[in-house]
């Protein structure tokens, strides 16, 4: 068999590959459509992120305000508690005061037994 001597010059840059018509413009259009879509997705993701951030900050602020209000209300109530009770007790008629004291004494007895 005759030995071949391959020479690149004979074939050059020939390739056996074919392409459909307008394949490049198709690639360009599809790639651009994906870029636009991903860009919009990224935009809406950013917007969603901003909204979630604002909501989180608002929730934290509301929690702080609520805690602060509860703390204030609680401590204030503690301060006035005994005065209020005393005031209420003194405003009762003598018979009611005796009745309450009797119940109180009775409760204490029950507790100590």
């Amino acid at each position: 068999m005759e030995k071949r001597d391959f020479n690149f010059d004979n074939i050059g840059k020939q390739m056996p590959y074919r392409t459909p018509d307008n394949f490049l413009s198709e690639i360009e259009q599809q790639a651009w459509a994906k870029i636009e879509m991903q860009g919009n997705d990224a935009g809406s993701r950013r917007e969603r992120g901003i909204i979630i951030g604002i909501k989180s900050i608002a929730a934290v602020a509301a929690s702080v305000i609520l805690l602060f209000s509860l703390y204030n209300a609680y401590t204030k109530q503690e301060i006035v508690k005994y005065d209020d009770v005393e005031q209420a007790f003194l405003s009762l008629c003598e018979a009611d005061q005796d009745f309450l004291l009797e119940i109180y004494a009775h409760e204490l007895d029950g507790f100590c037994e």
Binding site: F6, I11, K13, Q14, Y17, L24, I27, E28, A31, I35
Partner: protein
Amino acid sequence: MDAKDIINGIKADRERGFKMLMAKYGEPVYWHIRRLVVAHADAQDATQETFIRAFKGIGNIKDGGKLTAWLYCIATNEALRVVEKRKTEMGNGNEACAFDMMADSYVDYDNMEAVKLQRAILSLPRKQQVTFNLRYYDEMDYAAIAEVTETTPSGAKANYHTAKEKIIKYMNEND
């Protein structure tokens, strides 16, 4: 139109800049990918992904002169990713997989010498394959090839000559 014009074009008008990028590099990048993946549909997908990734990252390029090598680097990675995917799907060895891909409907079997040359190229190790294609078909200089293939210019030159010798041997031995 050079790389700087494209980068500035994208900054000024995204869509117009993208069209400029495609106009300059669309066809050579497609063919670079096609030579590696063989099937047109795979080449089409990998080319799309290449330009999407390139468009997203182009703002980070400081030196416009590096655009070509950078783009070919992305294209090569995309093409090799597709080849690996096909290889896994087919469960074949490297060479057998390449030959299976030659069954694509967009391969012209009338030119058997050209088919054989592509088979010879596809039988090479990946780095030699990429190096040979970039030098032989794209006429890229060794410095740029070295950037794409992550080697030195002398390493790229050695790879090219080794690839060329192997192809000649393949062409002479396989009739």
